[in-house]
């Protein structure tokens, strides 16, 4: 396995108390495959990625567990080791390309810098590499555009430039944190296609963080659904979208209008709001918003915290037996068609 995250826990000490941003999270990503991490704001998606990159401030955060990239442990690795890895082996694409590019340096200079630092290339070789990368991500006239500054690029072009910068050293792992959220649908489709094509060429592993299940359906191989810092469901994209098992995943799917849905059927969202990560509800963190708690009884759902089960393959963290879930789903589907 290329990336193995085991029992990752990230706590932040704040004035209001300890924020349990990520709590006992495990997942794996293989080379050449894309893991879609889905969840709402505050579910710990971005914190997890920053932990993989080693970007949390050690003075304010407490991280435990294990993050292994290609067999090497990243947690507790020295600063210089992490610096060698970042941008070289692990690269990141952020949501907002405008704030993550420097306005004072040309696009070419920003891409070339990464290449020079990690590969020790000469100035001119790095510049040629920057032009080559811009060409690969589909920026027209790369020889002209390489001298331009971020403000001269449109939103979609900036995101392409970000991808060019992330891929300049052929990283094994690419983390894309909501890479298309700030973009229009037509541009989003371009960027997702581009990521897919680049992955086919380079065989990198991709972690794609998103809140849009449509994006997951069109790009991810595997899916991890997060809620309040924990994984509540995991499986291949088809398993999770076709036969979702966790009530929270049902809620997410029920919240999203689809172009294929019958019209004038009300959406079936999750009620309530996500919990505070300082006082995470005991037991299953989703129980205060769950419609199926009475089926098991409050003691079960607030008791011991459910773990992802089964341990491998398609699993979810819920005590409700699979058979009962299938019945609930069938009933809901029947209601929709009548």
């Amino acid at each position: 396995m290329f990336l193995e995250v085991n029992d990752l826990t990230v706590d932040f000490h704040t004035e209001d108390g300890v924020v349990h941003a990520v709590d006992g999270l495990s997942f794996e990503v293989e080379r050449g495959s894309t893991l879609g991490i889905v969840g709402e704001s505050g579910s710990g998606k971005s914190v997890t990625n920053l932990a993989v990159l080693g970007l949390h401030n050690p003075e304010t955060s407490k991280i435990s567990g294990s993050i292994k990239l290609d067999g090497k442990e990243l947690l507790g690795a020295s600063r210089s080791t992490m610096e060698r890895l970042r941008g070289n082996e692990i690269a990141m694409i952020f949501q907002d390309p405008l704030t993550s590019l420097s306005p004072f340096h040309s696009i070419g200079a920003q891409i070339a810098e990464v290449y020079r630092k990690h590969k020790g290339a000469s100035k001119s070789a790095a510049w040629d590499r920057a032009i080559e990368m811009l060409d690969r991500v589909g920026i027209p006239q790369p020889k002209v555009r390489v001298d331009h500054y971020p403000h001269q690029f449109s939103g979609g072009m900036r995101q392409r430039a970000m991808i060019a910068m992330a891929l300049v050293c052929d990283p094994g792992l690419l983390i894309a944190d909501e890479p298309t959220t700030a973009l229009d649908v037509t541009v989003q489709a371009q960027i997702l296609d581009l990521l897919r094509d680049l992955q086919e060429q380079s065989g990198s592993a991709i972690i794609l963080v998103t809140h849009d299940l449509g994006v997951v359906a069109s790009t991810a191989h595997d899916v991890l659904v997060m809620y309040a810092g924990r994984a509540v469901e995991r499986g291949t994209m088809r398993e999770v979208l076709r036969e979702p098992r966790h009530p929270y995943t049902w809620g997410l799917l029920g919240s999203m209008p689809s172009l294929a849905h019958p019209v004038d059927v009300p959406l079936r969202p999750v009620r309530g709001t996500p919990p505070s990560l300082i006082n995470v509800p005991p037991g299953c963190p989703f129980h205060p918003r769950c419609d199926y708690m009475e089926l098991l009884g409050r003691e079960v759902c607030t008791g011991e915290r459910p773990e992802l089960s089964p341990h491998r393959g398609h699993g979810d963290a819920c005590y409700l037996p699979l058979k009962q879930k299938a019945e609930i789903r069938a009933r809901a589907a029947g209601k929709e068609t009548t």
Binding site: V185, T186, D197, D212, S255, P257, P269, R271, T273
Partner: protein
């Protein structure tokens, strides 16, 4: 059909662009809205979709007369309000309300929820039976908040709850028309659905008309009875929901629809049209058909002659399209990929 509530005809809004070093002279104009015709009927929801920068929000602000148009007319219930004075607008203000995109910046952080919702009633001198405070509590309950939160401040609420406060504020003056500018796009998926359900319920129960501005085509389809597609300051296609989503005739509408990623794996496979590049600058919009620079069907005629917004052969009533070479009604399932990066 029911009565026309709001009518925009030939509407234009050009924002000046100034340049020069000492004396700032106007060197150009952003053609944010450039000749737009639109009608909102009583009690209906008209969805307005388009990419960023196409002039959706400017249209919304013009419709609420927060902006004064540089050309064309806005009429509300038959009265021309395009250049009406503040005083003349006052009685209309309470009938047209707005819900904004960002629930953080659209509520005054120093005011309590009670005074925020009461504000419009005070300004418009509305005295509901039972008093304003009782009405505020009632409104809080209607939008699904606890009436006891009357004295709390906005920072004590989550994004979804704040958006509900914004809805309660808009409802406080019993409006006939609500202009909702991306009301759910800043919210999380599950909260987004709660707010959409709330707005739909309000429309059913109170018969308020909505001009629903959004970029999410699935949300617009879910919420609107009629949908208008905007591109660079103009309407390129407008139709009932069914007609527009099932038989888009404008290539742009078609491309937009095909770009929406769908979480429903069992949905029938749709063809893919990948548009190249971005929306051109509204300072120098392309001649003729504005979409021609990104259109795969464009021919010489498109550059010289602007296509009128008309009903095409075989289309249902009210389905208008502005295109010289519209899509076939029976859409052929072929892939059209225009992105240079995706060729080969």
């Amino acid at each position: 059909m029911t009565e026309k509530l709001l009518e925009l005809s030939g509407l234009e809004k050009h924002f000046p662009v100034r340049g020069g070093s000492f004396i700032k002279r106007q060197v150009g104009a952003v053609h944010a809205v450039d000749g737009l015709d639109l009608v909102v009927h009583e009690g209906e929801t008209l969805g307005l979709v388009g990419e960023s920068g196409c002039g959706k929000s400017t249209t919304g602000r013009l419709a609420a007369r927060l902006l004064e148009p540089t050309g064309g007319t806005i009429s509300y219930r038959g009265a021309d309000i395009s250049h009406a004075s503040r005083r003349a607008l006052k009685p209309i203000r309470s009938e047209i309300q707005m819900i904004f995109q960002d629930p953080y910046s659209s509520l005054n952080p120093r005011h309590t929820v009670g005074s925020i919702i009461k504000g419009p009633m005070e300004i418009n001198g509305i005295d509901p039976p039972g008093g304003r405070e009782a009405r505020v509590r009632e409104l809080l309950e209607i939008v699904g908040l606890n009436p006891e939160h009357y004295n709390r401040f906005p920072h004590e609420f989550s994004g979804g709850q704040r958006q509900r406060i914004g809805v309660a504020r808009a409802l406080s003056v019993n409006p006939k028309l609500i202009i909702a500018d991306e009301p759910v796009s800043a919210l999380d998926v599950s909260i987004q659905a709660q707010v959409i359900n709330l707005l739909q319920q309000l429309q059913r129960e109170l018969g308020i008309a909505f001009l629903f501005i959004a970029h999410d085509l699935a949300v617009v389809r879910h919420f609107s009875q009629r949908v208008a597609v905007m591109y660079l300051g103009k309407i390129v296609e407008i139709a009932d929901r069914e007609s527009l989503y099932e038989q888009p005739r404008h290539p742009y509408t078609h491309a937009l629809l095909s770009a929406v990623p769908d979480p429903d794996l069992d949905a029938p496979p749709r063809e893919r049209i990948r548009l190249a590049g971005d929306v051109p600058s509204p300072i120098n919009p392309p001649s003729g058909c504005r979409f021609r620079t990104r259109c795969w069907k464009a021919q010489d005629k498109c550059a010289t002659e602007e296509p009128p917004l008309v009903r095409l052969d075989g289309n249902r009533d009210g389905h208008l399209t502005a295109c010289h070479f519209p899509e076939d009604q029976a859409t052929a399932g072929r892939d059209i990929v225009l992105d240079p990066a995706l060729k080969d």
